[in-house]
Symmetry: C2
Subunit: 497 residues, 2 copies
């Protein structure tokens, strides 16, 4: 079948261009010399535009139709590719290429402007960029599907199949479970974690990072760990999946948990079945599922005592300052619950409230209920309402995250969805194995968990939709209960509620 070969060459080329764009993007944030950023952004825009053009080209539509007409005779990867490409084609075909290019160039530039604005606590310098990003995002959403709410159209990019109405319900249940727990904890004596502060050598932090990545099965032959201003994971799965972290000299926990988080993303992509390599299916199926892996390793696993028990002797060898803490102190210190300003540094409970705040602001922006210029004030208002703390600066408020600068409206809900999915997976593993996660980890059987995740989630890449994955893996749809039960059990015990 000559056409199949032509289709494969076409995909191959798209994949090569995406791979180069990935590398430019990685380099821009990790290694590129200061003066190189213009060249990088220009090349990134050109390559992304090429990929965009190819994904909306008539030639591709032809291949897709041919595959649809011969679905029965073809393998599931080919059919899966066609399905995914069709979806992207339908979604993007009405977006003018010039608009897309403009959006890529604008957001690349805006990420730079945002960095400066955050550093100088200057929302005004960032505001015009953000306004333009919101405008272009609305425009694109309208081109994609004028019959739907703009925000729902954007959500589809991160969590296919989910709508803002459904999220509102899910998040309401989540909020109702989390808030009373946080209130109860507030009545108890706070955990003292003063011994976690000090001066932590970067080399030690790098060592513990590599040690932990090895423990959770991240493969350095198919990845790297570098430093960047903000931790991230980027890659071409499964053989080039790179993660970054950021070392704080005064507190090693920040990097430890960001490494577990990015490591979770990394493992997901590294474990994708190699037969999907070079296809558009060699990627996470949604950002919610992606965040389920990162937040599972960071929190449900990474903040459990049982995970650290078999490792703790080695940990204090690498970071001698922790010798002053025994395992119990350590466990308590990594689970201090306290409403705070910064999402990425938040504890696992209040983290959800940070997400709900952002979700509501995004909805309000796209439903034209507030304007970009009102965001700082709205931020402070909602922080007060949900977390009871108010940032004194925009740097610690509305400017803290890079997502909006990158044009990723609709991304934030993924983190909370990730928390929810992750707990469902663990619940299912416990059911199947007949042991609690705690007892598996205690006995050093983390690989039982990773193996289940690889088997039921990772290997499929984007071959299955999020809801399909969950249903097949757990026998149910999205369900907030396991997460709330996990929180309830863990914090009742920890804080003696």
């Amino acid at each position: 079948m000559m056409k199949l070969e032509a289709f494969e060459n076409y995909i191959h080329k798209m994949n090569d261009l995406s791979h180069a764009a990935m590398l430019l993007s990685w380099d821009l944030k990790t290694k590129a010399p200061k003066n190189a950023s213009d060249s990088h952004i220009s090349a990134l825009t050109t390559l992304s535009t090429e990929v965009f053009k190819m994904s909306t080209d008539e030639e591709l539509r032809g291949y897709i139709e041919d595959i649809e007409n011969h679905e029965k005779e073809l393998d599931e990867v080919t059919v899966g590719m066609a399905k995914k490409l069709k979806k992207e084609y339908v979604r993007s075909k009405n977006i003018p290429t010039a608009l897309y290019s403009q959006f890529v160039a604008l957001t690349s530039k805006a990420e730079y402007v945002w960095e400066g604005a955050k550093r100088q606590n200057d929302f005004n310098s960032f505001q015009p960029y953000l306004e333009q990003i919101v405008e272009l995002s609305k425009e694109m959403a309208h081109y994609i599907d004028p019959t739907q709410k703009a925000y729902d159209v954007l959500l589809e990019d991160f969590e296919p199949g989910i709508k803002s109405d459904q999220l509102t319900v899910i998040f309401e249940e989540l909020r109702k479970g989390v808030v009373p727990l946080v209130e109860a904890i507030k009545t108890k004596a706070p955990i003292d974690d003063s011994q976690f502060y000090g001066h932590f050598d970067k080399e030690e932090q790098r060592k513990i990072a590599h040690y932990l990545l090895k423990q959770i099965g991240y493969n350095m032959d198919s990845g790297r760990l570098d430093e960047s201003e903000h931790p991230f994971t980027i890659g071409t799965a499964p053989f080039d999946v790179r993660i970054t972290t950021h070392y704080l000299k005064e507190d090693a926990r920040s990097s430890i948990f960001s490494v577990l988080h990015e490591g979770g993303h990394g493992i997901y992509e590294q474990n994708i079945n190699p037969r999907l390599k070079g296809t558009p299916l060699a990627t996470g199926t949604s950002m919610g599922i992606h965040e389920s892996q990162s937040r599972l390793y960071e929190n449900i696993i990474g903040r459990s005592k049982a995970f650290w028990a078999p490792l703790y002797e080695e940990v204090i060898k690498i970071i001698p300052q922790y010798k002053a803490l025994d395992l119990e102190d350590f466990y308590r210190g990594i689970n201090r619950i306290e409403p705070s300003l910064i999402r990425t540094e938040a504890d696992e409970l209040t983290y959800n409230l940070h997400i709900i705040l952002r979700f509501e602001l995004e909805m309000a922006l796209f439903n034209n209920e507030i304007k970009v210029k009102d965001l700082p004030e709205a931020w402070r208002y909602k922080m007060k309402k949900y977390l009871g703390v108010v940032p004194e600066t925009d740097a610690e408020g509305v400017l803290q995250d890079t997502h909006w600068a990158g044009g990723a409206f609709g991304y934030f809900p993924s983190y909370a969805l990730g928390n929810v999915y992750g707990a469902q997976f663990v619940h299912q593993i416990e059911k199947e194995k007949g042991y609690s996660l705690e007892s598996l980890l205690q006995r050093g059987q983390l690989d039982t968990v990773s193996h289940w995740l690889k088997e039921h989630i990772h290997q499929y890449g984007a071959l299955k939709t999020p809801s399909q994955l969950i249903r097949e893996a757990c026998g149910e749809d999205i369900n907030v209960r396991p997460l709330l039960t996990y929180y309830q059990n863990k914090y009742t015990q920890l804080y003696k509620l």
Copy 2:
């Protein structure tokens, strides 16, 4: 002029694709995870092929013709671009795209195979690749210009305007000047450099590298220094020009001089006039001129006593082992003349003989006088003849250099041409300034030299041909005399000949 804008967009896109290819190539040799090499090579092949297609496209020919027809009204950069692109177009238009792609993929792969072959001293595993590279190179040369000798066609890529007959004459004069000097030195007691060996901390070597790069004016805001198996310079001039080095723990000289060498390449590209940015003129005009800059900083400057005199106090602060050596010991130890096996580690005199050997072998290969399988033996024969030493292994013989694996037949002569050009430039600087290089450096006026080079060489990028540059800068054509005079003066004094 609408067409000019279309032309600029066309160039812009070519430049973006080349920039991405540059980054892939850099990453492949410095940072890429082991398992990523296939993806990198694939993307590199796709991007290079795209650039190649664009450089031979009818659309481009149209733009070039338009510019030719309006030369009088246009600025020199536009006219210069058209001239360079025309040359590449004429050169490449007959090469089938598939052949070009095959060549890129083959050489990317061969560079990997060569690394393994060198490590394991196994010429046989590399031989079939090299045979294919030679075959494809001959084929391409025939497509480019069937009326010329294949080797002359290849030379044009590295040193436009020069032919093998002319090189034979130049190299004969060079050989006749160098051999008697080397013979005379052999009758003298060898310089004792045993104190240069020891254990040199990588961090110290990195520090001295950065210190020296700063001294010679390499700009870290537009570049980087990394480690790689073999030192190289790669970049998109003038704002992203990266160099690498390789640290030997037993002898810091290796990295010191490779850093000065690559730094010389780096400065050349960083000093290209920014108005050439994003055009095909933002690159060195030939590899000979490029090597003139690298070898000038490495040798004529870098191996002079006067260069080190003002820096030496700082040097021994950074590398305490060198405290045992005074400046005179250091100067002697970095100028030990002794025929040896490895080109990159050779002294500046015998280095030329390594090049002549390679030039002769390349000519013989492309004139069908020898076969790839005969290379190891021919190598040993010529080493004996020109240098009086014979490698015991192919790893130290025919497998030592990466150039042939990369398909760069015709590159080697550039190094010797670089030596020749560099001495001409210094001679001219001395004439214009009325001071010897020695007295300029002694007084810390390296910037007088760098400024002259920027003014007369660097800034032009590829806007002028090599012969034009030399003639305008030095008022003469290529001339071996200044180099031989420099050698004569330096080594007569150093070895008391």
